[in-house]
């Protein structure tokens, strides 16, 4: 299965199992989404539960909150990372805080899913990584899978979560990775990182499409005789501090790889966590390998902006040799 198929499969399973699940958004029904993530679901589950909405992100999310407080489990698609901003007000002002505002009376069991990240030579606003914006909002959970298997398990958990989940899909690897994924239902807990490779010299933390780049860099670190521990964050919030801290205590060094602009980012948060909880174990300054604090360039400039395996290796080597 590809990541697209895995998410489709997760939605399909939940639509079949739970009558309260509805799936909608722009072009989600007939077309199956611009990336075909929801393809075939309308045919199978009907136009009342899988449908096209008018073009209005704020209303898509605002209405989903209404559905959620009244007993449905909406899963909405926002078409691209850069088009989640019209819905930002609803997400921040209401979705994230309805539980708190109603002192627990209402909850918002809903999933807001959208493709994110660069690397596909897209138009403006189609290549952004706004995970920090959403992780910064109290009340939201933010999930980013890096494999088809994880995407399926995490999506099912997200749909079953009684808290609202922002589910960001790395569009660059939507179809780039194929993997055996179990047919039936399974879940992967939200809030748990995964150690993909054990190592002793340096901890490398990444998520989404950057995992694949880190794995490519790992081929180089191996050649260079560096033992690299690779951790897939999988959930941005709540962040799995324990796995990170334990790893840094072992390696003494940390490199964080992510696509978003570096300042005030997930990378910044991880550096802070490591400083607070494992300061005395550090043998080198923590390093963030991240996007520049610039507008994401259009396709012609992407090669400069995108983080290559070489650049990851370069920073790892410098950190290890500090």
């Amino acid at each position: 299965m590809t990541l697209v198929q895995a998410i489709n499969n997760a939605l399909d399973i939940k639509l079949a199992e739970d009558e309260s699940v509805v799936v909608y958004g722009e072009d989600v029904g007939v077309e199956g989404g611009v990336f075909r993530v929801t393809e075939g679901l309308q045919k199978k589950h009907g136009v009342e539960r899988v449908f096209d909405s008018p073009l209005a992100e704020s209303a898509i999310v605002g209405a989903a909150l209404g559905m959620a407080v009244s007993g449905l489990r909406p899963i909405v698609e926002l078409q691209f990372d850069g088009f989640t901003y019209p819905a930002f007000n609803q997400i921040v002002s209401h979705v994230a805080r309805i539980h708190n505002r109603s002192r627990g009376l209402f909850k918002a069991p809903m999933v807001i899913r959208f493709p994110y990240g660069g690397g596909i030579n897209a138009l403006e606003h189609h290549s952004e990584s706004p995970e920090a914006l959403y992780a910064h909002i109290p009340g939201l959970k933010v999930v980013i899978p890096s494999t088809p298997h994880d995407a399926k398990g995490l999506m099912i958990s997200a749909i079953e979560s009684d808290d609202p989940v922002i589910f960001m899909e790395p569009k660059r690897i939507y179809r780039a990775i194929k993997q055996e994924v179990a047919e039936g239902k399974f879940t992967i807990p939200i809030g748990k990182a995964k150690v993909l490779n054990e190592g002793t010299d340096v901890t490398v933390v990444a998520f989404g499409a950057m995992i694949r780049e880190c794995q490519k860099a790992m081929v180089m670190t191996k050649e260079a005789g560096i033992s690299m521990e690779l951790i897939d964050l999988r959930t941005i919030y709540p962040i799995d501090k324990e796995t990170i801290i334990n790893s840094v205590k072992k390696t003494g060094k940390i490199v964080i790889v992510a696509e978003a602009p570096i300042s005030f980012s997930v990378g910044s948060e991880l550096v802070a966590i490591v400083n607070e909880e494992a300061f005395l174990h550090l043998e080198a300054p923590p390093k963030r390998v991240m996007g520049f604090d610039t507008i994401v360039p259009l396709a012609k400039g992407e090669s400069f902006y995108i983080i290559s395996p070489e650049r990851i290796f370069y920073e790892i080597e410098r950190t290890v040799n500090f």
């Binding site: 008018p54 073009l55 070489e310």
Partner: protein
């Protein structure tokens, strides 16, 4: 004002020539010189040729995603004839003909769709904002420009465009509301090309038409046959005069059809049927205007030669865009800030060090 005669509440549509190019309403036909009509036709034809070639460049892998304009040329060219040098254009991403009319070069348009920001600095075109990708967000800027014009008491008008899908966004209603309250000189055009990607207008709104939305905001609105060059021209002419006279904004719904795909990454056969396409093909704005000119005997040129000449011109501009200065690291950093923070300079420096390392490693 024709806006009074064609009440969107009654779902009337303003049209001057039919699909065969026959005049339907001689008393309202705008008084246009033959040369202007011929010029408009040529501009439509040029836009069509450029558009078809853009799609083929994309298919050849020489350009990234591109949104075709085929079928919507009458709106753009009619607007282009009316928009004056000092007027503002606040466009959406599907605006080839209007950009050209306003002085944006094809080379710039191609550069942008080749993924180079250098293409969206329209230094040779006056008062044109960059391409807007987030739907409907740009219409508010036109309202702000309108306010600025009103405050400065200058003779300018802002023209802005939005798709049928875009009318569902809150931004659209908010902008019209401000425009109504502030009574600013803005001409809003809804290019109703029937689809927002795969979603047809009937799934977008339950309004009987889109022009009627003007009612709610207290400004005049009209539904026009967007494939009828003359009707579009007259609507724009009156809209411009109305706005210039200090009466405020107007809303034009231009009824048209997107002949091509939504963008080059899209496949309309998934959501559109052939019958519908054939039906709309009969209303093609270029064919209609040509038929009109034939009836009047005002078209004398060899069209095949003309198209060949246009193809050469388009190709020349495309190649200029293709051979534009190679993209530099500098280009990524430029213009995020007017006053670049030191930290950003440092980020660039660090990256250059990496590039040097990479070079030496080879």
């Amino acid at each position: 004002m024709i806006f009074d005669e064609f009440d969107p509440k009654e779902d009337k549509i303003f049209r001057l020539i039919d699909n065969e190019g026959q005049v339907l309403n001689a008393s309202l036909m705008p008084d246009l010189d033959d040369e202007i009509i011929v010029k408009a036709y040529k501009e439509m034809l040029f836009a069509r040729v450029a558009d078809e070639m853009a799609v083929s460049y994309q298919r050849q892998g020489r350009m990234y995603t591109y949104p075709p304009n085929m079928g919507q040329e009458a709106i753009a060219v009619a607007a282009g004839l009316v928009i004056r040098h000092e007027d503002w254009l606040v466009p959406v991403f599907r605006e080839l003909g209007t950009w050209l009319a306003k002085g944006v070069s094809l080379k710039e348009i191609f550069l942008y769709y080749m993924g180079n920001e250098a293409g969206s600095n329209f230094k040779n075109a006056h008062h044109v904002l960059p391409f807007s990708i987030p739907i409907a967000s740009q219409v508010q800027h036109a309202v702000g420009i309108g306010y600025s014009i009103k405050l400065k008491k200058i003779d300018e008008v802002a023209f802005t465009f939005v798709g049928d899908g875009g009318t569902s966004e809150g931004d659209f209603s908010e902008a019209l509301n401000f425009a109504g309250v502030w009574q600013v000189p803005v001409v809003f055009t809804i290019q109703n090309n029937q689809y927002a990607i795969s979603v047809p207008v009937r799934s977008q709104t339950k309004s009987i038409n889109l022009a009627i939305k003007s009612y709610a905001f207290g400004i005049p609105g009209i539904k026009v046959d967007g494939n009828d060059f003359f009707a579009m021209f007259l609507a724009y002419k009156e809209a411009l005069e109305y706005a210039r006279a200090g009466n405020g904004s107007v809303l034009i719904e231009a009824l048209t059809y997107r002949k091509g795909s939504h963008t080059t990454s899209d496949d309309p056969t998934k959501y559109r049927d052939k019958g519908e396409e054939t039906e709309w093909a009969k209303a093609d704005p270029i064919i209609r205007l040509k038929k009109y000119m034939d009836h009047k005997g005002i078209w004398k040129e060899d069209e095949t030669a003309l198209i060949e000449q246009y193809r050469t011109e388009v190709d020349k501009q495309f190649e200029e865009a293709e051979h534009f200065t190679p993209y530099q690291l500098e280009d990524v950093f430029q213009h995020t800030y007017v006053d670049m923070p030191d930290d950003l300079r440092r980020q660039k420096l660090e990256y250059e060090q990496f590039l040097t390392w990479k070079e030496n490693r080879k």
